[in-house]
Symmetry: C2
Subunit: 212 residues, 2 copies
Amino acid sequence: MSRADRERQMLDVAEEVFGERGYRDASMDEIAERCGVSKPMLYEYFGSKDGLLVACVRRSKAELLDATRTAMAGASDPEDVLWRGMVAYFTFVAAHSRPFAMLLREPAAASPAAAEAVEATRAQQGALISGALAAFAPGAPAEVIDAFTQIIVGGSERLAHWKTQRPEVSAEDAARYMTDFCWSGLSPYLRREDGGRSGVRTSGPSGGAGTP
Amino acid sequence: MSRADRERQMLDVAEEVFGERGYRDASMDEIAERCGVSKPMLYEYFGSKDGLLVACVRRSKAELLDATRTAMAGASDPEDVLWRGMVAYFTFVAAHSRPFAMLLREPAAASPAAAEAVEATRAQQGALISGALAAFAPGAPAEVIDAFTQIIVGGSERLAHWKTQRPEVSAEDAARYMTDFCWSGLSPYLRREDGGRSGVRTSGPSGGAGTP
DNA sequence: CGCGTAACCTACTCCGGGTAAGTTACCTGA
DNA sequence: TCAGGTAACTTACCCGGAGTAGGTTACGCG
């Protein structure tokens, strides 16, 4: 079998085994056996168990970028960019639930290198998001954009995890929760009608517009 | 040394070593040695390496609950509850940065049991948050509260991580980003003045109030 | 048909989690 | 004051799985 084909196969099998057993309890012997090769071949191709995991993460990262970018490309306005990106994200996670659940739940578990690869994936998605935010709210300071991007990245991750335990929640539902929260937060649900507060608090709740 | 004292000491040392080396590269031999005892003592007290990590997580979980609850107790209105809770959270994470960074960054890495303990911590904080949200926006459906709670939990986690690389961002700054985002999202920064949109989109961006 | 190379295997080493069995030290009560 | 029980503690080991040294097959090419 050619190098490229073997590599793909090994990644497929590794993704599967890591997903089934978890990183720690997955053995290189089992992965090798399921590939129909011997252990040293895995080391020839990926260097170490960590290296194999990192390769899996990187492949998923590339696939996710592709899916998100493609979805965003068709958008008309910045609002639609975020919406489409979110739908694509939640759809992707649902479709790759096995391997992705593992990447979401047992990430840094492996090694600094693997943690870094997962962080790089977050940074990649964060770059797409902050671009959309900057286009949508051009007046916002860079640090605000950064902070909100972090919130969205972390929030999406958690929402995706929450969604796995609620089959009735569709990718569109999740995307709607996320984008609604981004645009307006809780203001549509407030008892008092101060949802359209004109400014942003600058020194804690007592200094803000809501509680003079 | 008494059982209780020894246990505390072991948790302190374990937290330190896990924080320094990371879970995987921390050896039970080293932890034992730094405690001035032999390895079987660790197993006597905590059963396994996982068990030791889980005990660390559970202790942090209890401390975090205490810090958050205490802070929230002094609040007047629901808005202030969330604000104080957030400040307490970011302050706590900053103060316990060593062990907490490890809990944030190498969480599930260890075992299903450790992953569960971290999930339980998130659930604990989520319960506090959803309580505050429900009080603040009594009209919101339960699923919306749940979804937003997930976003806030994940967003806070990511924001705390982001903050560690930005020493100039204070706990109050982080809390302000978080609560601002919760109350109004991006709407204060929008170019168009539709920040006070009255309703919530129900079928994607093209069906919402903003883009008829 | 020789020969180089690249895919591949057998058979190990070694480290670290985990344990069996025993030893010291202290408190208790008669 | 000393048997005896118990609880903190140790040495010395097992064993599974990550990682490796060195050799073998198989195929393309002149």
